[in-house]
């Protein structure tokens, strides 16, 4: 830990030194150059330069470009501004030299930028390779300035929109309009269904008309609901009409419309009055004055270069292979090949796959096209580990089942026929469907005619439409009901088919991925594609997917789990044989004696308050074994112990414990079962009752042990206010703060288990406690040693990240 601290101190010191303001130093001229690379794409020009000592978050490099003409005129245009800490040459994948560590380290000390002249001179886009360009480089600093900008007014908190209540007439009209629309929609849907059935009749499957059915389903449901509501509305309206006459009702509507308009106006007003606010934003602005150019002999250094397009090179044949993806469920095949020297942002690799039926290749299909700078084998350490060799390889995982999916339609047909066979004979959907459909149409039409009338609202009522509507039901609603029952059967059948189909598909996919496949890989630039070749013709790699036995990427997990389990188990065994394993002193526990002693002096009782936990949870068990000790001591000092319970079972156990410890202390007579009461069963009543007792009996000492919830605060507070010594212990971390602030001693978290193990010498607890200690020791060791090592390494510029990768969790 000393190393990083030192580093930090130095850092801080230097930071202080660097406070003073001075002109920025540009990188040295020699390092600033343009260069060509086999991976060039013919559009960009590579620039590189060394790092300036003044790089910081605030400073930027500025690259300026000039075409032949501009250069003659002495005109340069800014083509890029890059943060001075970014754009290291080592970050540029295509320039990385995968064999030469030294070169890569050198790249860390260089900046790199690929400039695209066409971005400044769009006219040159075609001819960029035949022209020279001139570049110069500067470093600029920035300062922070605040800009004020108007901000849209805060949207006001949403209020319950005060809509005036809709009068009956309007409501009824709305409702009946809605109703009519639904009816017509239903009619249309039925018509559509009918036509579809007719034209599809020869090739009719449940699947083909089920969408229609479920659509009709939904509409019918709405109609049936609306029908009832509509009738209610109309009846109500009818009554009103008789009572007040049509004019009054119409008047209501008019008033209502006015009110609504008024309300909207008001809301509008409110929105207007929102005050606009101004928001301050901090922005970087470049420092004024000439930027510091990279200069040679007083003048800014200018480098001249032109874009190059080297010929495309195909990856080597050896190292190109296809194999089952390890540690997977047998769905994928991995295809791997070497890097081509001409990779760049504009090239891609394409992977093609073909089925192999007993030695005969099928046609090759494109399975994947990946950017040539990505898809490194090293990007999937989960399956291929962290070997540095993986950086030199490309690897993509192909799921054959995705490329050659099983024929879903055929499968569906098959499943449907299977299931049909099981269906009762009198039920053959695709023949009698229309027969169920058409009877619906006529009554519906009649029904709609009636419904149309209603939409007039009052006018309709003069003709008393409501009863006639009910008349029209008689033909229609029963039909609907029959239809629905039928649709219900259909839907169930189809859902069943879907489930079966899903299984069948899963099965088919599994079979598909187990087959043998052939692969081709090629590099593509524009419309030019070069396949990996072996003696003159494209090379195929064979591979098949297999389900594997072990997830090797979880190896670290396996080892850790097993070894830790072994340790714990061993220590439990040890504790069985030797029950006085060492456990350190625990402050709260030391205080127990003193606290009880105090109670004895003052001649006042000791309170032991259980938490809410049942006998099942560990903290309660721990609490009980602490209670045993407390009871024992106070029995010896002849001090009264009162144990508060809120759980009958815990109460029973506590009574047992207290009784026993009295006997052990040779005072069985002193034990009184009423000293271990069941105070109250519910959380807050419990707290209240216990507090009552505390205040009345003024105990000298209070123990709060077990798992507590919100009531901890109440108990601890009152306890403190009565002036008792309080010793608390709980593993419910959210409550610990209250105990710490209000109690004299607190057993924090695992301490309570340690305490009980210490007292009870119970092998289970003792052993696992010790086992956990070993675990913690290991963790601490790993943390400290690992961090130190990594820090050292990164300070010395080595890459020891493997230490960290050992603990990678996939």
């Amino acid at each position: 830990m000393s190393r990083p601290v030192a580093a930090t101190c130095i850092a801080l010191a230097c930071g202080l030194l660097a406070a003073a303001e001075r002109p920025l130093a540009p990188p040295d001229a020699a390092s600033f150059r343009a260069f060509a690379h086999p991976s060039d794409d013919g559009q960009t020009i590579n620039l590189e330069w060394g790092r300036s000592p003044d790089e910081a978050t605030g400073t930027y490099y500025v690259v300026e470009i000039a075409s032949e003409e501009d250069f003659k005129a002495g005109r340069f245009r800014r083509v890029a501004r890059v943060a001075s800490l970014a754009k290291l040459k080592s970050d540029e994948k295509r320039l990385r030299d995968y064999d030469d560590e030294a070169a890569n380290r050198a790249n860390k000390r260089l900046h790199y930028l690929a400039v695209e002249p066409a971005s400044v001179y769009p006219a040159d886009a075609k001819t960029v390779r035949d022209r020279d360009y001139y570049f110069r480089l500067a470093i600029v600093g920035t300062r922070l300035a605040t800009e004020k900008r108007p901000k849209p007014p805060e949207p006001r908190p949403e209020e319950p929109e005060k809509k005036p209540r809709m009068p009956l007439l309007a409501a009824a009209t709305e409702k009946s309009k809605d109703f009519l629309e639904q009816l017509q929609a239903l009619q249309k849907a039925l018509g559509k269904a009918g036509e579809t059935i007719e034209e599809k009749r020869p090739t009719l499957t449940t699947a083909s008309y089920l969408p229609l059915v479920s659509d009709i389903e939904a509409k019918i449901a709405k109609v049936m609901v609306l029908h009832d509501e509509c009738l209610d509305e109309l009846r109500a309206l009818d009554r009103e009409l008789v009572r007040r006459g049509p004019e009054a009702l119409k008047q209501d509507v008019a008033d209502w419309k006015k009110e609504v308009a008024a309300a909207e106006k008001e809301a509008e007003e409110k929105r207007k009055n929102d005050r606009p606010r101004v928001e301050e934003e901090v922005v970087e602005v470049e420092k004024d004055g000439e930027p510091a150019f990279v200069s040679e002999g007083g003048a800014p250094k200018v480098v001249k270069a032109r874009a190059s397009l080297p010929p495309l090179v195909r990856p080597e044949a050896d190292g190109f292979r296809a194999f089952d993806l390890p540690s997977d469920d047998g769905a994928a095949i991995a295809v791997e090949w070497r890097r081509s020297p001409s990779e760049n942002g504009r090239t891609t690799y394409i992977v093609e796959i073909a089925q192999v039926e007993n030695g005969v290749y099928g046609a090759f299909k494109k399975a994947a096209e990946v950017p040539s700078l990505g898809a490194e084998k090293s990007e999937q350490p989960k399956f291929f580990g962290f070997a540095s060799a993986n950086k030199k390889l490309h690897c993509v995982t192909i799921q054959p089942a995705a490329v050659f999916p099983p024929d879903e339609l055929a499968l569906r047909q098959k499943v449907v026929e299977e299931q049909m066979a099981w269906m009762p004979k009198d039920w053959a959907p695709d023949t009698d469907f229309p027969q169920h459909l058409y009877p619906l149409m006529k009554p519906l039409a009649a029904y709609i005619e009636v419904a149309k009338g209603i939409c007039g609202g009052v006018e309709a009522l003069e003709g008393r439409q409501a009863p006639r509507l009910r008349e029209a039901d008689k033909g229609f609603l029963p039909e609907l009901a029959r239809y629905r029952a039928y649709g219900e059967r259909l839907r169930r059948f189809e859902a069943h088919v879907e489930r079966r189909l899903a299984e069948a598909l899963k099965d088919a996919r599994r079979k598909a991925s187990r087959k043998l496949y052939a692969f081709q890989v090629g590099i593509r630039r524009g419309d030019e594609t070069l396949y990996i070749q072996q003696d003159g013709k494209p090379k195929e790699a064979m591979g098949a997917a297999r389900p594997n036995g072990v997830k090797w990427f979880k190896l670290n997990n396996i080892i850790l789990s097993l070894s830790f389990c072994a340790v714990v188990y061993a220590f439990i065994g040890l504790a069985r044989r030797n029950p006085n394993l060492f456990i350190r002193k625990i402050a709260g526990l030391e205080a127990v004696e003193e606290a009880i002693g105090r109670a004895t002096e003052m001649g006042r009782p000791v309170f032991f308050v259980h938490g809410l936990g049942g006998m099942g949870d560990l903290s309660t068990i721990a609490a009980v074994s602490i209670l045993a000790r407390v009871a024992r001591r106070s029995a010896e000092y002849d001090t009264r112990v009162r144990v508060m319970n809120n759980d009958p079972i815990v109460q029973a156990v506590s009574q047992e414990v207290v009784k026993q410890s009295h006997t052990e202390a040779g005072r069985p007579d002193a034990y009184n079962a009423d000293d271990v009461p069941l105070v109250a069963p519910d959380q807050f009543s419990y707290a209240a009752a216990v507090n009552g007792l505390m205040v009345r009996e003024q105990p000298a000492t209070i123990f709060l042990m077990g798992s507590f919830a919100a009531e901890s605060l109440l108990l601890a507070e009152t306890g403190a206010s009565t002036g008792a010594i309080q010793i608390a212990g709980t593993d419910s971390y959210t409550q610990i703060p209250f105990f710490i602030t209000a109690c004299d001693y607190t057993l924090i978290g695992e301490e309570i288990f340690a305490a009980s193990a210490y007292l009870s010498r119970e092998p289970r607890m003792l052993g696992s406690l010790r086992g956990q200690d070993v675990g913690k020791a290991v963790v601490m060791l790993v943390l400290v040693a690992g961090t130190l090592a990594l820090t050292l390494a990164s300070a010395l510029g080595h890459d020891w990240s493997i230490i960290q990768k050992l603990f990678e969790a996939f």
Partner: protein
């Protein structure tokens, strides 16, 4: 805390009773004061009644602030009961019906499908029924067969999962602590060192915190000498963290109170914006 410390003399009791009655009528008056809300649906009075009931229960709950009292207990138990009933109905609606009734007796379109489903679900249903034997004294041992399966599964699966989530996933970033901060800062960049130093400092603090707290909960060696210093450091870290939790707890409880206050003032009395 609810105040049982007051010795409750009979005179005081009567006084309290009177106050209670007065409060009750005040409550009714307040509730009645707010008539039919504008734009309310037809069954508005049900909602309104609901709000009044809810307000009443809320106030009863708050009466606990004065003292633990019968009204509070009634409210508490009533809500326990409602929650319980809610649980029963929900278990039926969300679990038993969709898991047992529907798949067996509603969904299958033909008898064959029914048998298949039954074959698939019989085992868990039997085990589930065995669970119920836990309720009887004599047959409760049967329930163990169900429990062992569940508990065993949980325990067995729990081990690797815990290692994965709580040990590996937590150790890895901790290991990278300082080195990462160092790696992020390019070597020899003076002007930037302030911002470079701070994260390192932070990482050192984190590391110190983790280690010292772990050491504090390390029971196999006596904490003396350097040990006592480390565990002392651990305690301090713990205290700071507990402080943070404490602050958040206060925040949470206050938020709840705010919510209830909003309900009383706004929904019940219709006051405020």
């Amino acid at each position: 805390m609810a105040a049982p410390q007051e010795t409750t003399s009979p005179t005081r009791r009567t006084a309290e009773l009177v106050v209670l009655v007065v409060l009750f009528f005040a409550f009714l008056a307040a509730s009645a004061a707010k008539g039919r809300p504008v734009g309310a649906p037809d069954d508005w009075w049900l909602a309104r009644l609901g709000v009044v009931v809810a307000a009443g229960l809320t106030l009863i709950m708050y009466s606990f602030l004065y003292r633990d009292n019968p009204l509070f207990k009634i409210g508490e138990n009533l809500f326990v009961g409602v929650a319980l009933g809610y649980g029963v109905i929900l278990t039926w609606r969300q679990s038993l019906r969709p898991e047992i009734i529907d798949p067996l007796f509603v969904d299958p379109p033909h008898i064959h499908a029914f048998w298949m489903e039954l074959a698939r679900r019989s085992a868990p249903i039997v085990l589930g029924i065995l669970l119920l034997t836990r309720l009887s004294r004599r047959a409760s041992w049967l329930s163990r067969y169900s429990y062992t399966i569940m508990v065993g599964w949980g325990a067995g699966l729990g081990i690797p999962v815990t290692i994965h989530t709580y040990v590996l996933q937590q150790l890895k970033p901790s290991l990278g602590l300082i080195s990462k901060a160092l790696g992020d800062t390019p070597a020899g960049q003076q002007a930037d060192l302030w911002s470079a130093a701070l994260p390192i400092l932070g990482d050192v603090i984190i590391l110190a915190g983790i280690v010292s707290v772990l050491f504090y909960f390390f029971f196999s060696v006596e904490h003396k000498g350097a040990g006592s210093f480390v565990s002392q450091l651990g305690i301090w870290f713990l205290m700071v963290a507990f402080g943070a939790s404490f602050g958040n707890t206060v925040m949470g409880r206050v938020s709840l109170l705010i919510g209830r206050m909003r309900f009383l003032l706004h929904d019940w009395l219709g006051l405020g914006p």
